[in-house]
């Protein structure tokens, strides 16, 4: 044990610092590729139908996780607005620093699908958001086939 007066004179020997550099590729898969291609090329959200339970899956999958069967080949584009299934207002970033402006994160569902999309909700004040609120995507002009092809969701016009 060190006496208190010794501690002040000595460098800290208690730890070393390390870093973990990690970069990775994530394969979209057959279903993901088709989903993001339709977003990029047609500004469309596609859902894949299960031939057994008849549910439309979003994000689309090549299989229905509940029925354990391959989904059907004919995918359906979502028509009409989505709705807010869940939401929160986040106040910190990944470094635990306060965000300049708190951001609304929403889980967006569509009446005809099982599942949904998590995305940011903008063009609305947090106090005005409510569960069930109708929302629509705002598409990026330059689209590359990824989640960011949708800039954010906003309250749907005429709803």
């Amino acid at each position: 044990m060190l006496r208190p007066e010794q501690k002040q004179d000595l460098p800290v020997l208690r730890q070393v610092q390390g870093e973990i550099p990690i970069s990775h590729r994530y394969t979209l898969g057959v279903a993901g590729e088709r989903f993001f291609k339709a977003m990029r090329d047609q500004r469309q959200l596609l859902a894949s139908p299960c031939p057994k339970c008849r549910d439309l899956l979003l994000p689309p999958k090549a299989y229905c996780p509940r029925c354990f069967v391959a989904t059907a080949e004919a995918w359906s584009p979502l028509t009409g607005p989505g709705f807010v299934r869940g939401f929160t207002v986040v106040h910190r970033d990944l470094d635990e620093l306060p965000l300049a402006a708190p951001e609304i994160v929403a889980l967006i569902g569509w009446p005809e699908v099982r599942g949904g999309l998590v995305h940011r909700l903008q063009e609305v004040e947090p106090q005005q958001v409510a569960l069930g609120m109708a929302v629509e995507p705002v598409w990026a002009t330059q689209r590359t086939g990824c989640l960011a092809d949708i800039l954010h969701f906003r309250p749907a016009a005429n709803h």
Binding site: T88, D93, P102
Partner: protein, 384 residues
């Protein structure tokens, strides 16, 4: 249970602390193991099965379970690393002993949360890399969305969630192992900074360091051991889909399923009347209420009301998180739920000191693997 009964015969814990800069995680585990082996009256040479629970990213190392043997006395012994929470690891050890091929088993869980310098970045790596992670939100958003959905669907209130936090922090004052004992009012919890609305800072179990080691044995071994046995009467675990958008946000379906499995094994038909105390995951305050309902310890929509009525207080009919829970003891990664099990063991043995509950015979401990998962486990423990 199917074959021979399995008992917890020894327990050791370092106690939880905000920081442990003087001791490595190996030294923490060594301390806990020494206590557990002394408690059970075994030497590590007599142990035939070891289980460890840990996540690589929190350890800051790849294949981190390779670091397990030395500090447990487990070199050149069968070691099984479980990528899951503490009670899921416990289930694995119970199954190993149930084979009848192994007599005495040990499980360890530890936390060096204070060494994890970017916890939110690590948690974000658990989000789907294609569909959710690219948004780069603090992963607490999942808890915020869940909390809102749970409160809206069940009628429980934000004030009642805050009361769960205040009560657990208060309970922790009587637990020398706990890191975050405090006298807090509901108003103080509600006045804490918003994190992911309606979730506030005061609703979140703060991180802590520590280690827990438990020693288990088959019933036929009990005559040769000095440890006071606490029997594992039932254990269950369940995992929901990893896709946040595919779940019912308000529901802890994994806890419902895990409880049914454990209750079936333990012969529990009415949990609320047959369980004497429960250590329930409260990594976030609302989770305690959600889990109580999922476990059948409160009727749907009633957890908050029963909490307000004092049913779950240390003097109530069904004390919950009398240890202080994770909110009061500290969230300690995969070790967290082994600490919950430890509390039930101490209570059933009558060794819980100032917080000892009178006459506790059957106790429950429940785990949740934390956001963004919907996985968890339940164990029912009994004095006989």
């Amino acid at each position: 249970m199917g074959g021979e009964r399995i008992a917890i015969v020894g327990a050791g814990c370092t106690g939880l602390r905000l920081r442990t800069p003087e001791a490595s995680f190996r030294e923490l585990v060594f301390q806990a193991a020494q206590k557990a082996y002394a408690d059970a009256g075994v030497r590590p040479q007599e142990v035939s099965a070891f289980v460890s629970v840990a996540e690589n990213y929190n350890e800051g190392a790849a294949i981190a379970d390779e670091y397990v043997p030395d500090q447990l006395g487990a070199v050149l012994k069968p070691v099984h690393a479980v990528a899951g929470d503490g009670i899921t690891g416990l289930a694995s050890l119970v199954m190993q002993l149930e084979t009848g091929q192994l007599d005495i088993g040990v499980i360890e869980g530890h936390s060096k949360a204070s060494n994890v310098l970017h916890p939110a970045h690590i948690l974000a790596l658990a989000l789907d890399p294609i569909y959710t992670r690219p948004l780069r939100f603090h992963p607490h958003y999942v808890a915020g969305m869940e909390m809102r959905a749970f409160l809206a669907a069940t009628g429980n209130t934000q004030e009642q969630a805050a009361l769960a936090a205040a009560q657990n922090r208060k309970n922790a004052l009587a637990n020398p192992l706990a890191a975050y004992g405090a006298s807090l009012t509901v108003e103080q919890v509600l006045a804490s900074p918003p994190e992911a609305e309606p979730l506030k800072l005061g609703d979140i179990a703060p991180p802590a360091d520590g280690a827990v080691v438990l020693v288990l044995a088959r019933e036929s071994m009990l005559g040769t051991l000095k440890g006071k046995p606490v029997f594992i009467n039932g254990i269950g675990w369940s995992q929901d889909t990893p896709n946040i958008e595919d779940r019912e946000l308000h529901r802890a379906a994994y806890a419902e399923q895990a409880a049914q499995m454990a209750y079936r094994m333990a012969g529990i038909s009415d949990a609320a009347s047959q369980i004497d105390l429960a250590e329930v995951d409260d990594t976030f305050s609302y989770k305690e209420l959600q889990h109580l309902e999922a476990l059948g310890l409160a009727p749907p929509g009633q957890a908050g009301n029963l909490l307000e009525a004092g049913v779950f207080s240390p003097q109530g009919r069904l004390p919950v998180n009398v240890s202080g829970g994770h909110l009061g003891c500290g969230y300690a990664h995969e070790m967290s739920s082994l600490r919950s099990v430890l509390e039930v063991v101490l209570q059933l043995r009558g060794e819980a000191g100032a917080r000892q509950l009178p006459g506790a015979r059957v106790g429950l401990a429940q785990s949740w693997r934390g956001i963004p998962t919907a996985s968890g486990a339940v164990v029912v423990l009994g004095r006989e």
